[in-house]
């Protein structure tokens, strides 16, 4: 595989362009940063080409072509039902569990076919962690929640587990709040804490990618802000893909944004498709597709 050290160029390039603070009254700031275009040296983690996803006979999304680079945060935005979750779940093979769901086209992960015959889906999910829309801690203690992943990977020694748990909770900015009560039930945590616990639980298996499906939709603004800060830190070591309903959030945290929409096909069924994928600043300030512009203006205005 490619040389190890993280690729700061991509991250820094993204950084400088995404810190545009878009407020509802300022949809198009006058000074538009130039579109940097694809940054040379971006290390591609996921490469999707002509991806189509079906639930049984129904085609849920079609025509998805995009690549996701290392140490970037990519945001999926678009109206409800346009297939954001569906595409996200194809990235760690969660669809394997849904009877009838089928992924066509190719998705590569670090150049390897994610749906290849020899690929072990459990191993894929260990490397590509997922945080769900609704926090879903296990009805176990905080400690056992975090230790769950390491345990199924064969870590047995208590001292080793303790180290992993502390490190994961620290990375998820939750350690200070729970270090005194690791033995109490995870169900006693507040919504924001529970979501950070779920992030910590995903981090405990040391994944390469974190997929987040509207991770803040059930949280209050303060908890949301904490998770956004956290993503900013995690991006140094991880690749993040986030589905969000919140335009400001996409603008604040992401380096690249994919806009999806759903349109009726020839048979009158609504099918989701990728409209535009570009640097976040470009999508939010001078999108090339009128549908993107319409959606963003509508959502901000």
């Amino acid at each position: 595989m490619t040389s190890e050290p993280a690729m700061p160029p991509a991250a820094t390039a993204g950084d400088t362009i995404t810190r545009v603070d878009l407020t509802p009254t300022q949809v198009r700031p006058p000074e538009v940063p130039a579109d940097p275009g694809p940054v040379p040296g971006r290390e591609v983690v996921f490469d999707l080409s002509t991806v189509e996803i079906f639930y049984g006979e129904a085609r849920a999304v079609t025509d998805v072509d995009l690549d996701i680079a290392r140490n970037e945060i990519s945001a999926f935005i678009g109206p409800s039902g346009c297939g954001k979750t569906t595409v996200l779940r194809s990235l760690n093979r969660m669809h394997d569990l849904t009877p009838g769901a089928r992924v066509a086209g190719t998705i590569t992960y670090h150049g390897e076919d994610l749906y290849g015959p020899k690929v072990d889906a459990a191993e894929v999910r260990r490397r590509i962690g997922m945080v769900f829309q609704k926090p879903n801690p296990f009805p176990k203690s905080i400690f056992d929640n975090i230790a769950y992943g390491p345990r199924i990977n064969g870590v047995r020694k208590r001292s080793e587990l303790e180290g992993i748990v502390e490190q994961a909770l620290t990375r998820a900015a939750l350690w200070g709040e729970v270090k005194e009560k690791l033995k109490s039930s995870a169900l006693s945590l507040s919504g924001g804490q529970a979501q950070r616990l779920c992030i910590a639980r995903a981090l405990a298996v040391d994944p390469d990618v974190l997929l987040m499906d509207e991770p803040c939709s059930a949280l209050d603004p303060i908890a949301t802000a904490r998770i956004e800060d956290l993503m900013e830190e995690l991006k140094e070591t991880l690749t993040i893909v986030i589905v969000t309903h919140n335009m400001q959030q996409a603008a604040r945290v992401s380096d690249r944004t994919a806009f999806y929409t759903a349109e009726a096909d020839d048979n009158g069924r609504r099918v989701g498709k990728l409209v535009e994928y570009d640097a976040t600043a470009t999508i939010f300030t001078k999108p090339s597709d009128p549908r993107t512009e319409g959606y963003i203006t509508g959502r901000f205005g």
């Binding site: 603070d21 569990l97 260990r126 296990f138 992943g149 199924i152 639980r201």
Partner: protein, 344 residues
């Protein structure tokens, strides 16, 4: 971010009920006086009915206990309340201790659970998690059919078809474990007929499998998808997901299933009476004949008279107490399990 704040999703369209309520002129005093709403009489009648129904059940229960106690008085006064627990069994001296029968009843029930629970959990997991969707309903149907077979049919089938082959199996098993410390005693020399505590436990185990399966299946099926996905998303295999998400979620529900199965097993009468071999001497040898509180009533009530008849009725009373105690223990176990993590 300034004062812009976070736009919350637009609230759902106004609830019409609320709107009308706020527009209605408030009655002068909504809490006292005024005409009764039309539903009031029905509500009241329903409440009276419910109380009556509850009372009826209570009256039946109390009268059962009273009648049993009255008929069993001869037995109890013969030896005092101690005969409820006594292990003495000397019919010639009119000593009918309930203790050994109660113990053997518990042994049969426990052994039946040892047989039924793993099978039930296995079937329930297979049906909820592993079997292809199309195969699920037929499997459930067949198992539920098992529950519809009358107890006496089970007993006769076991007696006619299986007790003799089982006797051979028992002989082999006994030979294999002879001399092994505890196991050698538990699986001691078998009865020639194959009628034994083990045979009774097998038939009871088969009989309680459908109910235990049905409850565990229900419990497994209620494990939230979110929990299963949480586990799988961390790289769990299907079996690891079952252990990590479904079992913890289902713990108290499975305990409930086990206790309900235990209650059924304790009360099972006619099938046990047919295959247990009718020996009232307490034994630790599971391959030897035994008897239970219920089966002895079925086997002996017809010919019994005097103290013996009174004792048999007393056994019914002991059986009733036993099931009530199991129910109480079950409740407290479940309450404790619920308090731990607040699930199920």
């Amino acid at each position: 971010m300034g004062g812009a704040g976070f736009p919350r999703p637009a609230p759902p369209s106004q609830n019409r009920g609320t709107v009308t309520q706020t527009l209605d002129p408030a009655p002068p005093s909504p809490l006292v006086g005024g005409p009764r709403p039309p539903g009031f009489a029905v509500d009241r009648a329903f409440r009276v009915l419910a109380v009556l129904a509850g009372l009826f059940v209570l009256v039946v229960l109390v009268s059962i206990v009273f009648v049993l106690f009255d008929s069993a008085r001869e037995w109890i006064s013969f030896e005092g309340l101690g005969s409820l627990f006594s292990l003495d069994w000397e019919p010639v001296n009119e000593k009918f201790g309930a203790g050994s029968l109660a113990l053997m009843t518990l042994i049969v029930a426990a052994l039946a659970l040892v047989i039924a629970v793993p099978i039930s959990v296995g079937i329930a997991l297979f049906v909820t998690e592993i079997a292809p969707r199309r195969a699920r309903l037929p499997i459930v149907f067949v198992i539920d059919l098992l529950a519809a077979i009358p107890s006496v049919v089970f007993g006769l089938w076991m007696l006619r078809q299986l007790s003799q082959p089982l006797a051979d199996v028992y002989a082999d098993v006994h030979g294999a474990v002879a001399g092994v410390p505890v196991l050698g005693d538990l699986l001691g020399s078998p009865s020639a007929s194959g009628l034994s505590i083990m045979t009774a436990a097998i038939v009871v185990g088969i009989m309680i499998t459908p109910i235990v399966t049905a409850i565990t299946r229900e419990v497994f099926a209620t494990c939230p998808l979110a929990q299963k996905e949480a586990s799988l998303a961390l790289g769990a295999t299907r079996w690891e997901m079952i252990r990590g998400a479904i079992f913890p979620h289902s713990r108290s529900g499975v305990v409930a299933a086990v206790i309900i199965g235990f209650g059924r097993a304790v009360g099972e009468t006619i099938a046990v009476a047919l295959v247990i071999g009718a020996s009232q001497r307490l034994t630790g040898n599971l391959l030897a004949p035994g008897d239970t509180l219920a089966s002895i009533i079925a086997n002996q009530f017809g010919e019994a008279s005097g103290v013996q008849r009174s004792a048999l009725i007393g056994f019914g009373l002991v059986l009733l107490l036993l099931t009530i105690i199991i129910g109480i223990v079950a409740r407290s176990v479940l309450r404790r399990a619920n308090r731990r993590f607040g699930v199920v």
